[in-house]
C-alpha cells in the first residue's frame, strides 16, 4: 500500500516514517493494535517478533527523537508512541491479546452478561471454593497457603491458555467461528483466574506490609 507523504509530497510505503524525507506519517485513524505494529492479525505473534517491532518502531517514532521538530511532527510522535505503547501492552499479554482479537472479530467479552453466560457451573463452583480458601488464609495471615493457592491457579491458567491457543490456531486454519466461541469460553475462564491471581498478589503485598 502506498500513500502520499504530507511532508514531501512523494509517494511512500504506508508505515510510521516516510522513506524519502524521514518525516513521521499520520497515524491511520482507527488502526488496530496489529496495524500499528505492522503485524498480521493473528493470535500467535511469536514473542520475539512483537518485541523486535516494538523496539524498531520506538527508535523511529519516540518524541525524544523529534524533540527539535515542528509542532505537528512532535504531536505525531506523541500519537505514534502512545499508540505503540498501548498496542504493545495489549498484545504482549496472552489474555489481553485474546480478548482484543475476539473483539475485533465481533465477540465483545466486556459486554454485560456475555461473560457469565459462558461459564460452566463446575468452574464457577471451583472458583468459589478457591476464593473462600483464599479468604480464610488471608484472615489467618497464612502466606504459605496463599502461595499454594496461587500456584494451583497458575497451573490451571497454563492449561486453559494452551486450549485458548489451540482454538485460535484452529480458527485461523479453518475459519470456523465455532472455534472463536470456544476461545471466548477459555478467555472467560482465564479472566476469572487472573482476577484471583490479582487478589493473591494483594494478599502477598498485605503480608509484606505486616512483616
Amino acid at each position: 500500500m502506498t500513500a502520499l507523504c504530507p511532508s514531501c509530497q512523494k509517494s511512500c510505503e504506508a508505515g510510521a516514517v516516510c522513506a524519502s524525507c524521514g518525516a513521521l506519517l499520520p497515524l491511520e485513524p482507527g488502526a488496530s493494535h496489529f496495524q500499528v505494529l505492522g503485524l498480521p492479525e493473528r493470535y500467535d505473534l511469536g514473542d520475539d517478533r512483537l518485541e523486535a517491532r516494538f523496539k524498531e518502531l520506538h527508535k523511529l517514532v519516540h518524541p525524544d527523537r523529534h524533540a527539535q521538530r515542528a509542532p505537528d511532527q512532535r504531536r505525531l510522535a506523541l500519537q505514534w508512541t502512545t499508540a505503540l505503547n498501548d498496542a504493545h501492552r495489549v498484545l504482549k499479554h496472552p489474555l489481553a491479546r485474546a480478548v482484543y482479537l475476539l473483539r475485533i472479530r465481533g465477540i465483545d467479552l466486556e459486554k454485560p452478561g456475555v461473560q457469565a453466560a459462558r461459564m460452566p457451573v463446575e468452574f464457577l463452583e471451583e472458583v468459589m471454593d478457591q476464593r473462600e480458601a483464599l479468604g480464610l488464609a488471608k484472615a489467618r495471615g497464612d502466606l504459605e497457603t496463599v502461595r499454594q493457592l496461587a500456584g494451583q491457579s497458575r497451573e490451571r491458567a497454563e492449561f486453559e491458555l494452551g486450549k485458548l491457543r489451540e482454538h485460535f490456531e484452529q480458527f485461523e486454519l479453518t475459519g470456523q467461528r465455532e472455534e472463536l466461541h470456544r476461545a471466548a469460553a477459555s478467555a472467560t475462564v482465564l479472566k476469572y483466574l487472573q482476577r484471583f491471581e490479582e487478589e493473591v498478589e494483594a494478599a502477598e503485598m498485605d503480608a509484606l506490609e505486616l512483616e
Binding site: H58, P63, Q68, T81, D86, R89, E110, P112, A202
Partner: protein, 626 residues
C-alpha cells in the same frame, strides 16, 4: 553572548546536585564549596532571602522550625498524609490542605521550599559555568506517584526552569552507567537514598534503555538508619531504652546529624564515636549491622527487589548486573546483602551520589538537541496502576503498573439508576482492590447525562499518561458527546493560579533574592569560621608558632570587621584568607591528636577536648586503631 546550558538536576531528600554535559561527558557543578552536593535544607530567617545548603543546615539545630530539611518527604502530600513525626518537626498551618510551613514569619509550601533549592543550584551552576540555565531534566524516585511528580514539576517552573522532562532516578543512573561503562543486558538498579528506596529492572540493548519493572517505598531511606543508630547510641549511653520525647526533645535534629555522621564513619571504619549532649559513646559497625531495625530495613529493600524481579518475570540469576545508587549503598551491610541476593558483586564504579544527576544531564542534552545522539533512547514505565472507583468501592484498573509511557487507556461505564443525570468519577493510583486503600488522585463529576434507563447511558473514561508520568483524565458521554477533561491535580497540590502568582512574585524578586541569599549564606559561614577558629586557638593555640598564631588572629579580626558589610566580594576575600591560614593549623591539630590517641589516651577524653565550638555540629571522631 551567554551560552544556554541544558542541565540535569537530582533533587534529593538529603542533598541535591546539578550537572551538564560538556563534549558529551556529564559533570556535576560544585555547588557547596568544593562539593557537588548541596544539602537540601532551606532556612527562613525573619528578614531577607532564605538561606540554602550547608549554611542553612548549620542553622537547623538552633532554629528547627524555621529550617526545612528533607522537604522531599512533603512533596505532593496533604496534611492528612503526614505522620506525627513529620508534623511535629515543624509549625504547620492547621487549616491548609496543602502543608504550609510557618517559617521565619512566612508561610511556604513544599513546592516553594524545593524551588529555593533549585534556584540555589541554578545560580551556583551559572556562576561556575558562566552561562544561562533555562532548561532542565529533574529526577524523581521511580516510585513517586502522580501528585509527587506534579509537585516536582511545579517546583521547577517556580524556580524559573523549563522542565524538559521528569525522569526516574534509577533510569537516569542506568543511562549514566550504560553510556559510561557501555554495559549491555539486563540490570537491576538498587537505589537507596536519604528518604526513598526504589528497585528498577532495565534492559539495555543497543542504546535502548527500557525499564521492565519498578518497585519501591517512598518512605524508606537513610533517615531511618540514622534514627536506628541514634536509638542504639542513646541506649548505650543511658543503659535503658530511650524515650525520644524525654531524652532527646528539641535536640533531635542535632542528634540525627551526629548519627548520620557516625553511620558514615562506620562505612570505612569498624568503629567510631558519637557525641551526644557532651558525652561520647563508642559504636561498632557490627552493633549497627545487628540492630533488628537495621536488619528489618535492609530486608525490606530485598523483599521489594524480589517483587520487582517477579514483575519483570526474571530471577536474580537472569540479571547481568546490579548497579548501586544513593549514598546509603556505601554501607557495607547493604552491599553484601545486595551482592548475596543477586549472586554477584554490585557495580559501584560511578559515584553513587552523583550518578543520577549525571544521567539526567545526558537526558537533558538529548532532549535539548545540543548534541543529538541517534543511538540512545529511554523508555520508562508508570510505577503504579491507575484506575477508577466502581460500585462497592472496588477499583477497576485502566492502566496496569509497569506500562511503558506515554500511554492511554479507555473504559466504558454505564449508569446504574434510571434517569441518572450525573456520574462521579474517582481516580485512584495503587495496587489495592479497594479504592479507599489506594491513593486518591482526583474526583470529578460528569453531569448532563441524558435521562435514560439504568445501563443505557455509556460514559467513556480515558486516561492518558504523558512522558513525565503525569496523568490526564477525560470523560465523555457517548450518545450526547458531553465531555469533561481534568488534569488529575490532587486537592493537596497547588492550582495553576497559585503557581502563576508565585512565579510572578519570584521573577520580581529574582535578582535581588539571589544576591541576598549568597550574602546571607556567606555571612553565616563566615561567623562559623570565626567561632571555630577562635575556639581552636583557645584550645590548641599552643601548637602554633607565635607568628602564625598572630596572623591567624588578625585574619579572624579582619573577617569579623567585614561581616556587617553588604559586599559579597570583600567578605569572600577575607574568608579565603582565613581559610588559607587555618588549613596548616588544622593539619597540626590532626597530627597532634593522632599522636595523642596512639599514645593510649582515652578516646572519650580526646573527643571532649576537641568538642566543636558552638555545638552546632556534634563531633564524631574516628578512633584510631593501635
Amino acid at each position: 553572548m551567554t551560552v544556554r546550558i541544558p542541565v540535569g538536576i537530582d533533587l534529593g531528600t538529603t542533598h541535591s546536585l546539578i550537572a551538564r554535559t560538556a563534549g558529551g561527558v556529564p559533570a556535576c557543578a560544585r555547588v557547596e564549596g568544593p562539593s557537588s552536593l548541596l544539602p537540601s535544607v532551606v532556612h527562613y530567617g525573619q528578614a531577607g532571602a532564605p538561606v540554602v545548603g550547608k549554611a542553612a543546615k548549620e542553622l537547623a539545630a538552633e532554629h528547627p522550625a524555621d529550617t526545612i530539611v528533607s522537604v522531599k518527604r512533603f512533596m505532593g502530600r496533604s496534611l492528612g498524609d503526614l505522620d506525627d513525626k513529620a508534623r511535629a518537626a515543624y509549625r504547620l498551618e492547621p487549616e491548609s490542605a496543602v502543608p504550609r510551613f510557618l517559617a521565619g514569619g512566612k508561610s511556604v509550601t513544599a513546592v516553594e521550599v524545593s524551588a529555593e533549592i533549585l534556584r540555589a543550584l541554578k545560580s551556583q551552576a551559572e556562576r561556575e559555568w558562566g552561562g544561562a540555565i533555562a532548561q532542565a531534566v529533574i529526577t524523581v524516585p521511580a516510585y513517586f506517584d502522580d501528585a509527587q511528580r506534579q509537585a516536582t514539576k511545579d517546583a521547577g517552573r517556580l524556580a524559573g526552569l523549563e522542565v524538559l522532562r521528569i525522569i526516574n532516578e534509577p533510569t537516569a543512573a542506568a543511562l549514566a552507567y550504560g553510556l559510561d561503562k557501555k554495559i549491555n543486558g539486563r540490570f537491576a538498579v538498587y537505589d537507596l537514598g536519604g528518604g526513598t528506596f526504589d528497585l528498577s529492572v532495565l534492559a539495555l540493548e543497543d542504546g535502548l534503555f527500557r525499564v521492565l519493572s519498578t518497585r519501591g517505598d517512598t518512605a524508606l531511606g537513610g533517615d531511618d538508619f540514622d534514627r536506628a543508630l541514634l536509638k542504639l547510641a542513646l541506649e548505650k549511653m543511658l543503659g535503658r531504652a530511650p524515650d525520644f520525647d524525654r531524652d532527646v526533645g528539641p535536640q533531635l535534629r542535632r542528634f540525627l546529624y551526629a548519627a548520620r555522621a557516625a553511620k558514615e564513619a562506620l562505612t570505612d571504619s569498624p568503629n567510631t564515636q558519637i557525641e551526644l549532649a557532651g558525652s561520647a559513646v563508642n559504636l561498632e559497625r557490627a552493633e549497627l549491622e545487628q540492630l533488628p531495625e537495621v536488619r528489618g530495613l535492609v530486608d525490606r529493600t530485598l523483599r521489594i527487589a524480589k517483587m520487582a524481579l517477579r514483575d519483570a518475570g526474571l530471577s536474580p540469576s537472569d540479571l547481568d548486573g546490579v548497579v548501586l545508587v544513593g549514598g546509603m549503598t556505601r554501607m557495607p551491610l547493604v552491599r553484601s546483602a545486595v551482592g548475596a541476593l543477586f549472586g554477584k558483586p554490585p557495580l559501584a564504579d560511578l559515584n553513587p551520589d552523583e550518578v543520577v544527576a549525571l544521567g539526567a544531564a545526558i537526558q537533558a542534552d538529548l532532549l535539548a538537541g545540543a548534541s543529538p545522539r541517534e543511538d540512545v533512547l529511554l523508555l520508562d514505565v508508570n510505577p503504579l496502576s491507575l484506575g477508577l472507583e466502581t460500585m462497592g468501592g472496588v477499583v477497576e484498573k485502566l492502566i496496569p503498573r509497569n506500562s511503558t509511557i506515554p500511554t492511554t487507556a479507555a473504559q466504558v461505564f454505564t449508569t446504574f439508576k434510571d434517569g441518572q443525570a450525573a456520574m462521579d468519577i474517582h481516580v485512584v493510583q495503587g495496587e489495592r482492590e479497594l479504592a479507599a486503600d489506594n491513593r486518591s488522585l482526583a474526583r470529578f463529576r460528569l453531569s448532563g447525562i441524558p435521562p435514560v434507563a439504568a445501563g443505557m447511558a455509556r460514559v467513556e473514561v480515558t486516561f492518558a499518561i504523558d512522558a513525565d508520568g503525569i496523568l490526564r483524565v477525560s470523560a465523555k458521554e457517548q450518545s450526547t458527546g458531553i465531555a469533561q477533561a481534568v488534569e488529575a491535580r490532587p486537592s493537596h497540590g497547588l492550582s495553576e493560579g497559585e503557581i502563576d502568582r508565585m512565579l510572578m512574585e519570584a521573577i520580581d524578586h529574582a535578582d535581588k533574592d539571589v544576591e541576598d541569599r549568597l550574602l546571607r549564606e556567606a555571612k553565616v559561614r563566615a561567623q562559623q569560621d570565626i567561632d571555630e577558629t577562635r575556639k581552636r586557638i583557645a584550645d590548641h593555640g599552643f601548637l602554633l608558632p607565635e607568628a602564625e598564631r598572630q596572623l591567624l588572629e588578625l585574619a579572624v579580626l579582619n573577617l569579623e570587621a567585614a561581616l556587617p558589610e553588604s559586599d559579597l566580594a570583600t567578605l569572600q576575600m577575607h574568608q579565603q584568607m582565613l581559610t588559607g591560614l587555618s588549613n596548616p593549623f588544622a593539619e597540626r591539630l590532626m597530627t597532634y591528636e593522632l599522636e595523642r590517641a596512639v599514645k593510649g589516651h582515652q578516646a572519650s577524653e580526646f573527643v571532649d577536648s576537641a568538642r566543636s565550638p558552638v555545638g552546632a555540629t556534634a563531633a564524631v571522631q574516628q578512633k584510631v586503631q593501635s
